[in-house]
């Protein structure tokens, strides 16, 4: 146990030492997933310079065109360039995915650390978490958007809330194991205060599994955002997102299937890339698991 945790702590150093090629050979999943993810992120950020036009400029004369040299993915029913919309749409997915992953992890981490270490807090907090876990993300989002107006912020909140308890449970279980470790007792014995023990001693030990969990949350947030947008309860229609592009293309699926499939492929590849990175990180951070596989 100790040896494994210890190894994970220095997992970062061998990358620098062994060189890029060796790293790719040793951790192919992280390399492939990371490469795909970098491509998608760069494409979304650099969208204006990738041969795109304004994704929301309407051109009724050019409705529902097939892919051509001018419109690589064709145009939608308002004559908007589909390629531009798909590339710009990646921004929404990635922003939502990343924000939810960061928010859920940070909030869940804070609650989980305190709840795992202080038993009095634990009993109350965990019941609240159980309650939160019972709320389906999509239902919550639809309810929130019905109450206010559709915005990416609301989507982020709605997807984050049900993810928080998952992180809390993970962090709490890690803390419950770690708090019995002699080095925590030793830290107390040199007069370390509770907040300091949480931040300096428990947090770094809980980080590796948490990072892995964050990637899964990111992937699931991307999917939920797409689902919400598809249902019309997510990203407002004026902002292109993979979900609402697919929703708008749905009536033309039999005639022009690529209108649904192309954004779908981007969505699938993004989620796959994030999951590959997550799986790879898990193997990398937990050497015991990697050897077994």
């Amino acid at each position: 146990m100790t040896a494994a945790t210890a190894t994970s702590a220095i997992a970062a150093t061998p990358i620098a030492r062994e060189g890029f090629v060796a790293f790719v050979r040793r951790h192919p999943t992280v390399a492939i997933g990371g490469l795909l993810l970098i491509l998608i992120v760069v494409a979304s950020i650099a969208a204006p310079w990738l041969g795109t036009v304004d994704p929301i400029s309407i051109n009724p004369a050019q409705r529902l065109r097939n892919p051509s040299a001018e419109n690589w993915f064709g145009t939608d029913r308002f004559g908007r360039d589909l390629y531009s919309r798909v590339i710009y749409g990646g921004r929404v997915s990635l922003i939502v995915g990343l924000s939810v992953a960061v928010l859920a992890t940070v909030i869940g981490l804070a609650i989980g650390l305190v709840s795992g270490y202080l038993r009095a807090v634990d009993a109350v907090v965990m019941r609240v978490m159980d309650g939160m876990m019972a709320i389906p993300a999509i239902m919550l989002a639809i309810a929130l958007i019905a109450l206010s107006k559709a915005s990416i912020f609301i989507v982020i909140v709605a997807v984050t809330l049900p993810e928080v308890p998952r992180v809390v449970r993970l962090v709490r279980s890690i803390v419950l194991t770690l708090r019995e470790q002699p080095y925590i007792e030793a830290a107390t014995a040199i007069g370390t205060s509770v907040p300091r023990i949480l931040l300096r001693h428990l947090l770094p030990n809980a980080l590796p599994p948490l990072i892995v969990q964050a990637t899964y949350i990111c992937a699931s947030a991307v999917l939920i955002e797409a689902a919400l947008s598809f249902l019309g309860a997510g990203t407002p229609p004026e902002i292109p997102s993979w979900g609402n592009i697919m929703a708008e293309a749905r009536p033309y699926f039999q005639l022009k299937p690529w209108m649904v499939l192309l954004p779908g492929v981007f969505l699938a590849v993004t989620v796959l890339a994030i999951n590959l990175v997550g799986d790879g990180l898990r193997d990398m951070l937990d050497p015991r698991l990697a050897r077994r596989m």
Binding site: A3, T5, A6, T7, P182, A186, I190
Partner: protein
Amino acid sequence: MSAAPTPSISTPAGVEAPHPAVLEVSGLRTHFHTRDGVVKAVDGVSLSLERGETLGLVGESGCGKSVTALSIMRLIPPATGRIVAGSIRFDDTELLTLRPAAMRAIRGNRISMIFQEPMSSLNPVMRVGRQIAESIALHQNLPRRAALDRAVEMLTLVKIPEPRRRADEYPHQLSGGMRQRVMIAIAMACAPTILIADEPTTALDVTIQAQILDLMLEMKERTGAAVMLITHDLGVIAETAQRVIVMYAGRKVEEAPVKALFAHPRHPYTRGLLTSIPRLNRAAADSAQSQRLTEIAGVVPSLIGAVEGCTFAPRCPYASEQCRVAFPPEIEAAPGHIVACWNADKLPEMVRA
């Protein structure tokens, strides 16, 4: 029986001692609440520690040695354990009623502790230097960089080669002996008044044990700390301690200057412990007859519930009727030599018989 030794409350040698005791534990009772009942891990222990001395605390596993130490540090896990009675005075401060923040200011600073397991007492994801610096920064209000420099100095003092490089390493990159050196560095970093060492060499290789003990004593000389050495190794006690307290089943059964204890053990349990040590010369002398070591029959009794009479009586070859009725009072059999046994004065004859 005729001498009618006066039962004295244990302030052993406290009167004659040139230095006042730096630590006074009296009537300490630490109980644990478990599903099976109340475990009286420490049941009325009194001891004192003088400035700069080395006090040995011996006994089998489960005798309450470690719990006594943890009680002094106020590190008894609050979920199950509680100090139910007694007082622990450290330099005129009552530790048992101290606020948590004040207690934290004492821990690691004026009283520090070395644990048994060097393998798991260091945080695996923190660099060694930072772990030493943590205690220094905490108690001496030094900035990070200065604390790290002090940490490297400490590593030099505990004789770790290439201290600057080692300070940047993680615990798993160090050997067991080196980790215990780091633990000593952490414990001694703030030059504590008291160092509690809970079986500091038990988990180490035999060849390393002597080095670590020497180092501990050297650090003690350097800082003038009083050391409370918990161990079940009487050989270690003989080499290092000035006074010894023998514990059995949560109570103190004998306390004596180290020479007196080894020469004239007055409690049958102490005698049992002493005869169970293998001796090279004795083995050579009568190897033919007694290859087997003497052992104390039986095991430490369960500490749950009330025990009638002396806790050692069931295992004691000399137990009399009286022993099964009441726990013997602590009597001062010789100056500084305290024993809790009904038959303490008769023991030498009983053994010869």
